[in-house]
Amino acid sequence: MIKLFFAWLNFGIILALGYYVYQRWFKAQLHLAIQTKKNQLQGLQNQVGSLENQIKELSIDLVLQQNKATDLVTKLQLWQTCFVAKQAQQADDFEKIQIKIEYNNQIKLQNLSLGLAQKAILAETLFQTNNLLREKFENLDQANLILKDALTKLNRSAGG
């Protein structure tokens, strides 16, 4: 009976010891796992922090870019306004120049036709004068006078 009692006692002590060792081992393992997970969590938290920082930077950049884009849009609108105004002015100027050119061309044409008419009159006058003089100098006495005069001039220049 006593043996059985001790046997059960030994078995109980061994069981208690085993349970105790198992509990220690299990706690150690759990602690290790918790530590690992904690480390992983810390790493992830760090990554999240870094990503948050990046997001912040990007959002700052985005704001800056948005500001720039707004500036550019404003400038573009301003330039567009200027361009349209300038185009309108240029069209106005062009029209004015065209009117001036047309006016000048008209004057030139008038002058040209006037000049041509004058030239035609002069040519006609020359032709008629030529004919009149030819008729007049058919009288050889007068023609001879001119010829002698020309020869006298030639002789004078030869003498000079």
Partner: protein
Amino acid sequence: MGMVNANLSIKYAKAFFNLYGAQLELADFWLIKKAATILAKNRAVLDLFNLHSEVEQLNLNRVFLKYFKLPESFSKLLTMLQKHKRTFLLPDILSEISELCLSYNRQLFFKLTAYPALSEVEIGQVIDYLEKNTNKQILYEYYQDQNLIAGFKMQSRQFLYEDTIKCRLQKIHRKLVRQN
């Protein structure tokens, strides 16, 4: 005549004159000048030279030289022009040769035109004037031209002297045109 053809004519004329220039006499000058004038006015005649047979070419050259009474030395020039199909240059070459003759003999050619007619003495006076002023012997052709109205005109390649009613009228006309 284009610049290229003009230069070519001058080259042919100079080459011919270098070879045969010394043999040419005053009578030849007049014959060359006459031939140049006639051919320049009747350029279509030059198409006759474009024959294929050499015998025909030689015969035609003989007839040509005989008609214009040109020296035999021109036969070689004609043959060469026919060979290179440049007979159309002949009037200009002859004209250049006549100019080279003048230059070689220190002479100048003038076309003297007048209305009414100049007497022999008056022509003499005009020629004396030209000889004194150019220091060269003057060769001339004299024409009477009623288109001048009255007065006389002397013209060479380089010089022009004109004292006529026609010229005075043209000067007045030009002045009036410029003023307008």
